[in-house]
Symmetry: C2
């Protein structure tokens, strides 16, 4: 095999033991927070029918699909978890007790250009609530995000969450520039999501583009882009129609976030719309306050997705939180732990004659729940002691002919250096 083929495919990762332990440390926090919020874990196939993911809204995520034909089926590696979750909810809609609180920790793929914090695969923690129309669902999810940030050791203030409401934007545009063209709203959101990346002028041009799905006139496009500048809910309120439900929802959400103790880390930001076409209400994304990195997570309400996929309408809201960007932030903040290999006992036989006795000792210790490294060939005692020290083992059990004859093992406590003889049949008790 060529040497280049001995590397993982570009944009994908190997996880050696140190990296795997860091990954699991993060995933354990994802799971632990989700369980504290009484969410249940689910999973769906890595490879789905491509049709589940293809939508006609010009989203990056669809352009970047890993998809292929195989045995006359058009399949795709999932680029995100939400459509699979929606499919599962629809398939058992009658039998599931609502509201559902589901979470996943799964790998997703997007074939994209790589930059810092952007690979072609990442793992993503998703939490979704199905069947709850009120913003108490959004509040619960946003609180879970901050619980995770606390759990991994970030400081309050390291991360800001920006919130907006597509419903508020839609209400404000419905009476004006999109009066007769409600179908243009989803692609409009996809276009303005690129504001940070490509700038106001390029977004304005996309909104005007007569070949595009939005094609506003220039004044309307400039009005939309100007609206996105608003960072104050009071100002945004003045553009909303009287009695706006979307505005009331946003205000209620901030009240609830205050009760969760996270309101001071959340800001209104009219430019947040998220790049996925299916969002319908509140949308949010979290960034490092330093502004160095891509979004740590993002989410929102997608009340029409089930219907779009052919199911009955079910209100839903969720977020996705990747493993790569948080990893970068934790590294920058020196919060990423270096985790040792967990070994309690080492068992060392001086020669092959002592191996059966060493095996019996290891077996007793393991049956007692201890994590035991049994050396597999005689080798050097010095090396075994150095290894035991390096992995942080508590004890090493040494078995030579002399010990066997006396029915004991020589046990060295590696912290104190103290040695003693232990009867072979007492190991593990």
């Amino acid at each position: 095999m060529s040497q280049s083929k001995l590397q993982p495919p570009r944009g994908t990762r190997d996880f050696y033991p140190d990296e795997y332990r860091q990954r699991e440390w993060l995933f354990d926090h994802f799971r632990s927070v989700a369980h504290q919020f009484a969410f249940e874990e689910v999973d769906a196939p890595t490879v789905e029918h491509a049709e589940l993911f293809t939508r006609k809204a010009g989203e990056e995520i669809v352009d970047q699909l890993y998809h292929f034909e195989l045995h006359d089926r058009h399949l795709a590696l999932r680029p995100e978890m939400t459509p699979s979750i929606a499919r599962m909810v629809i398939a058992r809609a009658g039998a599931l007790r609502m509201p559902l609180r589901w979470f996943t920790v799964t790998q997703n793929w997007r074939y994209e250009r790589m930059t810092r914090g952007r690979k072609r695969e990442h793992y993503q923690w998703n939490m979704d609530i199905w069947g709850e129309p009120s913003v108490s669902a959004e509040a619960e999810l946003i609180a879970a995000i901050f619980a995770l940030l606390d759990a991994v050791g970030l400081e309050r203030g390291d991360v800001k969450l920006r919130i907006n409401s597509r419903a508020l934007l839609e209400e404000s545009l419905r009476e004006g520039v999109l009066r007769d063209r409600p179908e243009a709203f989803a692609p409009l959101c996809v276009a303005i999501d690129k504001l940070d990346k490509i700038g106001a002028d390029a977004v304005t041009r996309q909104l005007i583009d007569t070949d595009g799905a939005v094609h506003l006139d220039e004044a309307a496009a400039r009005f939309v882009v100007a609206m996105l500048e608003l960072k104050d809910l009071g100002e945004a309120a003045r553009l909303a129609p009287a009695g706006s439900q979307a505005l009331a929802d946003l205000e209620r959400l901030f009240q609830l976030l205050d009760a969760y103790g996270v309101a001071d880390q959340v800001v209104f930001d009219a430019s947040v719309v998220r790049g996925l076409a299916y969002y319908t209400g509140i949308v949010f994304e979290a960034f490092d306050t330093g502004g160095e990195l891509r979004a740590l997570c993002g989410g929102g309400r997608y009340d029409q997705l089930a219907e779009t996929l052919g199911g009955k309408p079910v209100p839903a809201v969720g977020f996705g939180f990747g493993d790569v960007v948080i990893g970068e932030l934790l590294k920058d903040k020196k919060k990423l732990p270096l985790l040792m290999r967990p070994v309690d006992d080492m068992v060392f036989a001086f020669g092959e004659g002592e191996r059966p006795a060493a095996i019996r000792v290891a077996r007793r210790l393991r049956e007692a729940g201890r994590r035991v490294e049994l050396t597999l060939s005689g080798g050097k005692l010095k090396r075994a002691l150095a290894d035991a020290d390096r992995v942080g083992a508590a004890r090493i059990w040494l078995l030579g002919p002399d010990e066997i004859e006396r029915g004991v093992a020589r046990v060295k406590d590696l912290a104190s250096g103290r040695e003693s003889d232990e009867k072979l049949e007492d190991a593990g008790s």
Copy 2:
């Protein structure tokens, strides 16, 4: 979307909460046993260069590859973990402390016809030891398999492990029917692995086939197939050359397995060769004693794989243990647990006015490490009580206007039915 597209692709699985909990129960046992044996978990990309998996030995696993061209790369979903592990070991060969004890719990794909215990994806627990040439490595791995079977609650006797040595078979044939054609040995193993499935006559025909990679004459083919009948190590020994290392290894392995306390569940069986071309020494597979199911797991020594892939030679041995067949066996034996959703406390606000206070109670309880379901809309108390009962919550916290005014929550202990008032600020303490 069409209704058929709302199902997972044929041969793949959704994991709803109950099924996910069963899956994690099994995976937790995989991990716990691996940690008791001081193995370290690793992971590699789900999608690899197809070249890593394609070998020219007529193996089923290569014919059944999920592979595709994308952006000018020939990629494949991994059908097994071993080649990825080998790639990782080769890439850092100098820097890794041998012997390596690595394990994985990952999903693999094979596009095959579906029968009981056979899907197009499965999860597989792999344990591999790299850098140890002696059978103490095989013994450690086989002991781990039995530790897992014990851990999930199977009885001793429910499963038998069958052992053979390809090296012994090769030694026995080298002086005879394969004297001038050592390269025919790997495809010969692939052919005779099908004995159980297609029968002795069909295997004999494949060994004779002049278009095949083996093409023995008929007498030689019949001799090989007859050898596979041997179920007694003493008989097999008579066919081995004098001073056979392979025979000595097998005998030593049985001694060590006795020290591990599992020898009575292990039998010699000359027909076991495994279907993968890369095995070179001891091979083994475990079956339910009832003979109802496919192999629960299989493995063996593959000392030449690193070299085949372009690395330096490193001795290696490992096994793969799937999640589907053990699931079937546990179901048959009524050992598969039905696991409840883990919730400690429910918190219920009678109306929207009490929601902020309910949130504060939930927050305090969660900060104290409890798993708390907060009801997200007023709803009916009766339903909340029934839900709390159903999920097995220990307590439900009830907050109405009257309680708020008094600065308390009404707390019902669901086991005893006893109710009491708790000060709101004491929740979680």
